[in-house]
């Protein structure tokens, strides 16, 4: 295979940005979500509107921000308000079309874990002594509770358990708690009347959800990867029968990503493969 003219993080950004349609109102978290939405706005979705939970609407970054509420995140925005308006009115009240979210783990139903777990996945878990800690869910829970969403995640074995060790953002089948018991029910039945996961974009592939089972199947694998190897890294019996190889990104879009979206390598530089 010829030398790739794009990096893995670039491929992830391009693949994720395809979910952003022109005119959409998109809630983005820090990191890849922000990169992806910016790319979409500078390519095929110039009329997409970016919302960030610090309180900004329709920012047009001159320099990619480190935070969803730092001075750079407000550049060019048309409304500066607070977190309540963004997460309450726009995400909760369904005035946004989709969210792009990161996570530490994602499971077969698109449930996310952004926060913590036992030392080994599946071990008993003591909330007062978590085995590992990530930063936490922030607004990802809120966006996932009210909006359709796409997940960005680094492709590593431990990140794809059959059931997340600690569920922070709701996918298609979620937990309800009754008289000391945990029951798994469809998200609508639990009370989540809107939204749900549309896709998982990893650093190797794209998963989507089966209409009937609501379980993630392999939809695309990136050039240089293969479905059988990917299946070995997934904690559930993932259906790879529908998988096709992703189109490589165009040189043009990679140029825009490098030269216009993130010329300082704020995000492109920092992402692990």
């Amino acid at each position: 295979m010829a030398e790739q003219y794009y990096t893995v993080p670039e491929m992830v950004a391009v693949e994720t940005s395809k979910f952003v349609k022109d005119g959409m109102v998109i809630f983005v978290g820090i990191g890849l979500g922000l990169l992806t939405a910016s790319l979409a706005v500078k390519t095929h979705a110039p009329r997409a509107t970016i919302l960030m939970e610090g309180g900004t609407v329709d920012s047009r970054f001159a320099h990619l921000p480190f935070s969803v509420c730092e001075p750079r995140s407000a550049y060019g925005c048309t409304v500066t308000t607070g977190l309540f308006d963004i997460l309450g009115y726009n995400a909760g009240g369904s005035h946004a079309d989709m969210a792009i979210l990161g996570a530490a783990q994602v499971d077969q139903y698109g449930n996310l874990n952004s926060t913590m777990g036992p030392r080994q996945s599946g071990d008993p878990f003591d909330i007062l002594h978590p085995g590992w800690r990530a930063t936490g869910s922030g607004g990802a829970n809120d966006a996932a509770s009210g909006l359709p969403f796409v997940v960005n995640i680094v492709h590593q074995d431990r990140r794809f358990p059959k059931i997340v060790d600690y569920l922070t953002s709701p996918g298609w089948m979620v937990k309800v708690f009754e008289n000391g018991n945990v029951k798994w029910v469809p998200r609508r039945e639990a009370g989540l009347i809107r939204g749900g996961p549309d896709a998982i974009v990893t650093t190797q592939c794209v998963m989507k959800f089966d209409e009937k089972t609501k379980i993630a199947f392999l939809a695309e694998y990136f050039p240089g990867t293969n479905p059988v190897e990917i299946k070995k890294t997934i904690g559930w019996d993932i259906d790879i029968s529908r998988a096709v190889q992703s189109e490589p990104p165009s040189r043009e879009v990679i140029d825009i990503l490098r030269n216009e979206v993130d010329p300082d390598k704020v995000l492109l530089g920092g992402l692990k493969k």
Partner: protein
């Protein structure tokens, strides 16, 4: 009635309003508008047993943890963003059980403050439904024995009920009010009675301020109330809910104040590195906190060249030439 001035130094504000064991709400948002001048002073005055809560966390969590001020944290996140920088000391303390962490979603936290601000016991949301954020087995404040004894803590972390108004009667999650003993926020401008103008994104500061039993406001500029009244639509917080006004330059260093100064990534990188390293942490705290007399001494140690390099360009509200390489792993 002789009105006492609310204007004071960071040391005076901490001495007058902050006591051991309080619930303290920290305003701002990770690397924006966090009143470090007050948090440094809390370490110097040896405040203990603080229950920190916030809509959005940031470096002060790590600082207070390292200074031994913290009993627990109620919030949604442990880090400084900066492309997913987790607080190394804080998260280690949480894993070891030395500091408890009660987990809510971001919006849930603002609802808890908003409920207190509105004087109601709860607010409803669809957030958290279906997740371990409302798993009764994971009620940390309950496990810590805080419920049913201390009026400041509700009897439950959450309450799921059926909507009584529409025939589907769907589940909805009620979140209890959270009224901190003291809220600490930062605004770019304050009037001499305390009217506050926050520029840029507001995060959760208005809700946290109204929720607080007392409010400490740091500000970049102190102006007359008459000046504030020239553009009342630009002001969010009325003077009558503010108890202390602390006007000091660079009150939020090493983080930013939109339109006035940018964050100091080199400082933050040193801070984060030292906090994660047992051999460096105490030295860093000595150098930047305990051996510092007051905020003026802190600014002097930083030096005018460094501070000038952070000054915001009005066309951007930040410094477009700011050196951010410490967090860009090229």
């Amino acid at each position: 009635m002789n009105e006492k001035s609310k204007i004071m130094s960071p040391a005076e504000a901490v001495k007058e309003f902050i006591k051991d064991g309080q619930i303290i709400a920290s305003g701002g948002f990770t690397i924006t508008r966090k009143s470090y001048a007050i948090y440094y002073e809390m370490l110097r005055q040896g405040i203990k047993g603080i229950k920190l809560c916030h809509v959005t966390p940031g470096g002060p969590d790590e600082l207070l943890a390292a200074g031994g001020c913290l009993a627990g944290i109620t919030g949604c996140y442990v880090g400084d963003e900066l492309v997913q920088v987790i607080h190394p000391f804080c998260s280690r303390q949480i894993k070891s059980g030395n500091i408890w962490h009660e987990d809510y979603s971001h919006y849930s936290m603002i609802l808890r403050f908003k409920a207190a601000a509105m004087g109601v016991p709860f607010l409803p949301t669809h957030s958290q439904i279906g997740t371990d954020l409302i798993n009764p087995a994971y009620d940390v404040e309950g496990k810590m024995g805080l419920r049913g004894k201390d009026e400041r803590f509700p009897l439950a972390k959450f309450h799921v009920m059926k909507d009584p108004f529409w025939p589907e009667h769907q589940n909805i999650c009620l979140l209890p009010a959270l009224s901190p003993d003291v809220t600490i926020i930062h605004a770019q401008l304050a009037g001499e009675k305390g009217t506050a103008r926050i520029m840029g994104a507001l995060g959760g500061d208005v809700e946290e301020a109204y929720a607080g039993k007392k409010v400490i406001l740091t500000c970049d500029e102190l102006v007359t109330e008459d000046y504030m009244a020239r553009d009342p639509n630009a002001n969010q917080i009325p003077h009558h809910i503010i108890d202390a006004i602390v006007p000091v330059p660079y009150a939020c260093h090493p983080v930013s104040s939109y339109m006035n100064y940018d964050y100091d990534t080199n400082f933050l990188r040193e801070f984060h590195t030292a906090m994660g390293d047992d051999s460096k942490r105490d030295k860093w705290l000595d150098e930047w906190v305990y051996k510092i007399k007051d905020h003026w001494h802190y600014l002097e140690k930083l030096g005018s060249k460094r501070l000038s390099s952070l000054k915001a360009n009005p066309a951007y509200a930040y410094n477009p030439d700011n050196d951010r390489s410490a967090y860009m792993n090229k």
